[in-house]
């Protein structure tokens, strides 16, 4: 039976003051240290942003009562805590656009919704164009966005110079900037806070968050899912959702599935913190790189993949050098800043570069994965939509194109147009 627990008090200025006056010794847990029960209605595998958001929306919007999130380590410890925190919805293809815009709209309410400041900061994302062909490309993208009611502005080189003074808009560089596409509503968020905020809010709705609980098997009987075998024992469930970015293939394989996914590393790094110098997010079309400055003052950079499969989560020097080369070519005054920390995220790259969300051949088993490097911005949207899928058993209009079956039908969602080469998307 579902154990009762008291709902933690809401965060507020008054609440902070009260704790300050009592020496901050009486804070309660942000989420319970729950023990696994024998069975649940729904189990979400993966305590990252997507899994926790799914549990939250299931409990909040679909009235689901017995929900568990099982996480092999600590929540938010996978790609939720490794990405470069960019949120935007500037996608060309209608399918992607619906998905990411749904998510962006949820981001805009998220701190309020969760009573947890996820520091979603709409500082704008700028996609740079370095030649006329790229400029035409971003114009097509921007028009597509505008028609759909999504904000987009074309910036000339002069406007860019004014908007991002630290950006080198001169022609004294290999690929001069000729313009860019600004999405003013885009920006960044505090990645860890997203996991914690969803965890706290889901927990308050009765969701059991089971950390250090590794799934080692998925039980099925007669083509139906029956539960999961974990490092903390067997847990039964009628419905199981997989949301394990970086390990989708492994978990799906437990149910005998083979997916169109290959896993690659994406390198990222931050510099030492400095005073504010870059107030927006710059994405350079010339190398798929992105640069922004965190609230702490670090310049955070990420770029293309290592171009060979890996699960190592380790930095790779040539790629780091390339990120530095491109960043300094755009921002020549960053040369004296110091690189402070490098890391890598594990990206489940699909064969068409778009995520897979949908039913599987196993009844009651649902998959949500293959987010390539676009997963963080999708967090609330992914959870919201996946919860809907888990509750209803059927994909809604937004999710329908993202089903696994699209590969059988040749209806790829190939935003980059690079074909079934997972590391080129």
């Amino acid at each position: 039976m579902f154990s009762s627990h008291s709902r933690p008090p809401r965060y507020s200025a008054f609440n902070l003051l009260r704790h300050a006056l009592t020496g901050n010794r009486h804070w309660s847990r942000a989420w319970r240290n729950a023990a696994p029960k024998d069975g649940y209605d729904v189990i979400i595998i993966g305590g990252g942003g997507h899994g926790l958001a799914t549990a939250y929306y299931l409990a909040k919007l679909h009235g689901a009562k017995r929900i568990a999130v099982v996480e092999k380590g600590w929540i938010g410890g996978g790609n939720t805590g490794r990405n470069t925190t960019i949120v935007r919805s500037d996608y060309l293809l209608e399918e992607n656009s619906r998905l990411y815009e749904c998510s962006l709209q949820l981001w805009e309410q998220l701190s309020d919704e969760l009573n947890f400041n996820v520091m979603f900061s709409q500082r704008g994302t700028v996609l740079l164009a370095h030649n006329e062909a790229q400029l035409a490309g971003v114009a097509q993208l921007g028009n597509a966005m505008r028609l759909r009611g999504i904000d987009a502005e074309l910036l000339s080189r002069e406007e860019l110079r004014e908007f991002v003074p630290v950006l080198d808009c001169s022609s004294a560089t290999r690929w001069p900037v000729v313009g860019g596409l600004l999405q003013p509503r885009g920006g960044t968020a505090r990645h860890d806070a997203v996991a914690w905020g969803f965890a706290r809010a889901a927990d308050a709705l009765g969701v059991d968050i089971l950390e250090n609980c590794e799934v080692t098997g998925i039980g099925t009987r007669a083509g139906r899912v029956t539960g999961v075998q974990t490092s903390r024992g067997w847990i039964g469930a009628d419905k199981v959702g997989i949301a394990v970015a970086g390990h989708t293939s492994q978990v799906a394989a437990m149910a005998g599935l083979r997916l169109p996914i290959e896993t690659h590393l994406l390198q990222a790094m931050v510099t030492e913190p400095v005073k504010p110098v870059l107030d927006t997010v710059i994405m350079a079309g010339a190398y798929d790189g992105y640069v922004s400055q965190t609230d702490k003052g670090e310049i955070i950079m990420g770029a293309e993949l290592d171009m060979y499969p890996s699960y190592s989560q380790r930095g790779n020097l040539p790629r780091i050098e390339k990120i530095a080369r491109y960043t300094l070519s755009l921002f020549p005054s960053f040369g004296k800043l110091r690189m402070m920390r490098c890391w890598a995220g594990i990206n489940d790259m699909t064969m068409d570069g778009s995520p897979i969300i949908g039913t599987t051949p196993v009844h009651g088993l649902f998959v949500n994965g293959g987010w390539c490097y676009g997963g963080f911005k999708a967090t609330p949207g992914s959870g919201y939509l996946f919860a809907d899928l888990l509750a209803s058993g059927k994909p809604n209009d937004i999710l329908e194109p993202f089903a696994l079956a699209r590969f059988d039908n040749g209806r790829y969602i190939d935003e980059a147009g690079t074909g079934p080469v997972p590391f080129r998307h």
Binding site: Y11, A13, N117, M119, S333, K336, N409
Partner: protein
């Protein structure tokens, strides 16, 4: 402050010299051999910076790269966040304090300290949410208060280098273990690299009063390094940090130029057969109230400043420790004239030898005592101590201006961990020590948790021998190990992480990020109790020091709070770099103009002479158009387009990918590579060809020319040439392994000039073309060889403009002559823009525009080409895509109702005027141009179910570029000019 800080003698500074430097505009004097930190201490400067969160005054805390406090900016508009402990002093050095406003002495933001209880850990996650849209305003202020140093404003004027190295043995760390290891390996004949982050070899030998073989430690180190530097097989790099240990024994080094020299920072990638890590250990502080005050310092640093620099960091010192090493601090300070008030030791007993030394100096030892708090302002005034077991309230006061703290030593396992090596918690030394290696690594000295000087020398010799042997060098048995003495160096400690009941708001775990013991406890209360959650929630260990002095204390407090052994808690991941590395050095010389190579056509200089405007096309620079004096781009493009339609134009198409495919199976191979049927392509004929990807989408387009039975010549688009090469090569090797075919890329060998227009045959005749049949009679899509203006040439009668045209392929080096002859006889150059206009008028597809990676040949109107039954690349993919295709985007032409209205590439198409929202777009304009030939704008578009909409009206929406009203246009076949192709024929 009247008493001198500098001792009268001793240390490795040059007392005859004098160096003048500035800190925050004030001028000071230092000595050669000083660091900025030692010189500031020598001048009695106690406050050197402000902390991140509460803007508390902070002094110099350590002596090495672990420094959390003393971060300064070097030079005007110079490098921020520079650790003063790592900066060798040079004459004229200018340093500035950071993170204070307006001055270091009076910082307005210091008031934040008073609000500390409100600003408890993670407070920002719990507030700033009201009103809903106000976060941006809050954030603006937060960003200003956060951050450390000021970023430079000007472009970095420095140049940097990258270098590569290979060696048999790489020794990281130049202390006793490293020196000993390097010597043994070098004597065995191995190529040895010895690196150290410090400007001085010897490590702690310079900082202790040790003796080795009856010499002082620093003398011994100097002799060893001099010997090693004299060997041809040894390279010693000082001021060089091994910051990353990557796969397959790749070690990354960041080398600083010698202080004051004009040298460049250099980044090394060194592949070493064996790596010896002799990286030593980092002393850790203890957590108690006021442990961040200026005057509180690591015990090792306090004696190091005396021993190496002759600088007394204070005049009245208290030593607080849980291990023997800090007894040496008491001894060394005392002997240098500092009044040592007491040694406070939480243990019941120390090593009898060191205890005796302290007694001889008449320094009181307070055993089983702990330090309760330190008090002071811009300098330390006193500390309070009490019996460890006694009641919390009762403490006594000791007046002092220096508190030397040691809570033990943490092996610097960073590189070991980066290499994938395992580690384990060691109870004896209360530290995390290396366990198994993952790579070809050896460990020596304190990094293993073995701290004695004799141990280090011994360990080093053993590791050096083992590494040399593994690298294939037969090794002499290590020399008789030196006899050494350093009292109290056993390294055992009684764990003491935080003084119980002292965890107030000023008991700091992480000095740089202002994380207190209370913050750690609060994080645990709130459930952030995994190490990673603790780190991320409190920001513990996330500063520029990456927690070198704080992580273990945080871990231990966490473990205590959770009632679990430290060993079971785990650690956070050690990530590169070991210490922060200048971005410019990481990037190296290939930045800005040198970011990527520029590819230029063999005719580039000719275009430049003609004042062409160039455009970037991949790595290539290509002429976009050739403006006459005062001519606008639009006028130039129109003129060039008309020239081709009415006269004779020439364009440089040398950048096209060019391949020769030959061999007995060449015909079979071609049949598989291209979607169209090529078996019946006769020798001497060309054909337009489409290459697909296996998923059925168009990969590239170009021409296929059959030179003879077993030899083909292919051209590809400029942008895809490299990928096409890879695809052909892959396909040949992997899919057609039995075939006898060779694929050769000949892009670089041939220059190519397309001559197009009704007057082209006449111009060619005038230039002098010797071929058979005569050029003007050469049929469309035929090929021949001959000479043009005396230069051997291959002539292809193909056209990308829709006019009579011929592509002339000549050896790259002789192309200028041909181009100039064509010009001399009346041909006018045209660029990419005119070429684009011409192909749009004809409805030819562009790679990237129509062939965008998501379109099939059927989508683009090439259905006729696709019927082939023989297996070819993309056949099955195409079948799958079109088996149950819905409303796919198809290529159409568009004519605006208003012929003068421009349609722009990237505009969207709508079924009804003004329609908006998801699902409203039914396609987009893929290419557009003003057609001077037709006197109107024309466009190609990809339109859902487009071919069945011929004759319909659609609306062209371009809101992004400010168009207010959607433009009505009618759908037509994608060809606006000479649809029957009569102009192509001879």
């Amino acid at each position: 402050m009247t008493r001198r800080r500098r001792t009268g003698s001793g240390g490795q500074v040059d007392r005859r010299g004098a160096i003048s430097f500035c800190f925050d505009k004030r001028r000071y004097q230092g000595l050669p051999g000083d660091t900025l930190a030692s010189a500031l201490l020598a001048n009695g400067v106690t406050v050197v910076g402000r902390s991140v969160k509460y803007h508390r005054r902070r002094g110099i805390f350590s002596i090495g790269s672990e420094e959390p406090n003393a971060l300064v900016r070097i030079g005007n508009d110079g490098q921020p966040n520079t650790r003063a402990t790592m900066v060798p002093l040079i004459d004229g050095l200018e340093a500035w304090s950071q993170n204070r406003w307006p001055t270091l002495g009076f910082d307005v933001f210091a008031m934040l300290g008073a609000l500390a209880p409100l600003l408890s850990t993670g407070f920002y996650y719990k507030t700033f949410m009201w009103p809903r849209r106000a976060w941006k305003a809050y954030e603006h202020v937060i960003r200003k208060v956060a951050g450390l140093g000021e970023p430079p404003v000007r472009a970095d004027p420095d140049a940097y280098e990258h270098a590569f190295g290979h060696c048999d043995v790489m020794v990281v760390g130049c202390g006793p273990a490293g020196l000993s290891a390097a010597r043994v390996a070098a004597d065995a004949g191995a190529d040895v690299w010895l690196v150290d982050e410090s400007p001085w070899a010897g490590g702690w030998l310079n900082r202790e009063r040790a003796t080795i073989d009856s010499r002082t430690g620093s003398e011994w180190a100097a002799a060893e390094i001099a010997y090693l530097e004299s060997l041809a097989n040894v390279r010693v790099l000082l001021q060089t940090t091994a910051f990353g240990y990557y796969d397959h024994n790749l070690v990354a080094l960041a080398q600083l130029p010698a202080a004051g020299s004009a040298g460049r920072q250099r980044l090394w990638r060194v592949r070493a057969s064996r790596v010896i890590l002799a990286t030593g250990a980092i002393e850790r502080p203890c957590v108690f109230a006021g442990n961040d005050l200026p005057g509180v310092m690591l015990a090792g640093a306090a004696r190091a400043y005396v021993n190496q620099f002759g600088v007394r960091a204070g005049h009245r010192a208290v030593v607080f420790t849980n291990n023997d090493s800090a007894y040496r601090t008491a001894m060394d300070l005392h002997d240098a004239g500092v009044t040592v008030v007491a040694v406070v030791d939480c243990r019941t007993a120390a090593d009898p030898g060191v205890e005796e030394e302290i007694r001889q100096r008449k320094i009181p030892i307070l055993k089983e005592h702990v330090l309760v708090c330190a008090a002071g302002g811009s300098r330390l005034r006193h500390v309070r101590v009490r019996p460890a077991a006694g009641p919390a309230g009762r403490s006594s006061r000791l007046k002092c201006d220096l508190l030397a703290v040691s809570a033990g030593w943490s092996p610097a396992i960073h590189l070991h961990a980066q290499s994938g090596g395992a580690s384990t918690y060691d109870e004896a030394t209360a530290s995390v020590i290396p366990a198994d290696n993952r790579q070809a690594t050896h460990l020596a000295g304190a990094v293993c948790g073995r701290f004695g000087l004799a141990h280090c020398l011994d360990d080093g010799a053993r590791a050096g021998a083992a590494a040399a042997a593994k690298a294939g060098f037969s090794c002499q048995p290590p020399r008789a190990v030196a006899r050494s003495r350093l009292p109290g160096d056993a390294g055992e400690v009684a764990p003491l992480w935080a003084v119980p009941d002292s965890a107030s708001g000023t008991a700091f775990v992480d000095l740089q990020n202002d994380v207190t013991g209370g913050d750690v406890e609060q994080a645990c209360l709130e459930g952030y109790e995994s190490v990673e959650h603790l780190k991320r929630y409190t920001t513990l260990g996330m500063g520029t020091d990456q927690g070198k002095t704080s992580n273990i204390n945080g871990l231990a407090i966490l473990a205590g709070r959770r009632g679990r052994p430290i060993a079971s808690i785990g650690t956070t991941t050690f990530r590169p770099p070991y210490t922060p590395v200048t971005m410019g050095a990481v990037a190296g010389p290939e930045v800005r103009e040198r970011l990527e190579p520029v590819r230029r056509s063999p005719l580039h200089d000719v275009h430049a002479e003609l004042a062409a405007e160039f455009d970037h096309n991949g790595l290539w620079l290509r002429p976009a158009y050739y403006p006459a004096a005062g001519e606008s781009m639009r006028d130039a493009v129109e003129r060039e387009t008309r020239t081709v339609r009415t006269d004779c134009g020439i364009i440089d198409v040398s950048t096209l990918g060019k391949f020769e495919v030959q061999g007995p199976d060449a015909a079979r191979f071609m049949e598989r590579v291209y979607v169209n049927r090529l078996t019946r392509l006769a020798s001497g004929r060309s054909r337009y060809g489409l290459m697909l990807r296996e998923d059925g989408m168009i990969f590239d387009d170009g021409t296929v020319t059959r030179l003879d039975e077993s030899r083909y010549f292919l051209t590809t688009s400029t942008s895809h040439a490299a990928h096409v090469h890879e695809q052909l090569d892959y396909f040949l090797e992997i899919c057609c392994a039995g075939m006898e075919v060779a694929v050769t890329c000949v892009t670089e060998y041939w220059a190519a000039i397309a001559v197009a227009g009704p007057r082209a045959p006449a111009v060619l005749q005038a230039v002098g073309v010797d071929c058979s049949p005569r050029i003007e009679q050469l049929p469309f899509m035929a090929v021949t060889t001959g000479t043009v203006a005396g230069i051997p040439a291959r002539l292809l009668r193909i056209s990308f403009s829709g006019e009579w045209a011929c592509e002339i392929y000549v050896p790259a080096r002789q192309s200028t002559h041909v181009w100039n002859e064509l010009r001399r006889h009346g041909a006018l150059p045209y660029g990419l823009e005119a070429m684009d206009t011409l192909r749009i008028e004809k409805g030819f597809i562009g790679v990237g525009a129509e062939a965008n990676g998501r379109t099939t040949p059927i989508d683009l109107g090439f259905a006729r080409m696709t019927g082939k039954t023989e297996r070819h690349i993309g056949q099955y993919g195409l079948q799958r895509v079109h088996r149950n295709a819905g409303n796919r985007l198809e290529l159409v032409g568009l004519l605006a109702d208003d012929p003068g209205a421009a349609m722009n590439q990237g505009a969207q198409l709508l079924a009804t005027q003004g329609q908006r929202g998801f699902g409203s777009s039914i396609g987009h304009v893929s290419s557009a141009a003003y057609s001077p030939t037709l006197g109107r704008h024309v466009a190609l578009a990809l339109l859902a179910g487009g071919r069945s909409r011929t004759g319909d009206s659609v609306y062209v929406a371009d809101p992004l570029r400010g168009s207010k009203r959607d433009l009505r246009a009618s759908v037509c076949a994608p060809c606006f000019y000479d649809p029957d192709g009569t102009r192509l024929q001879p």
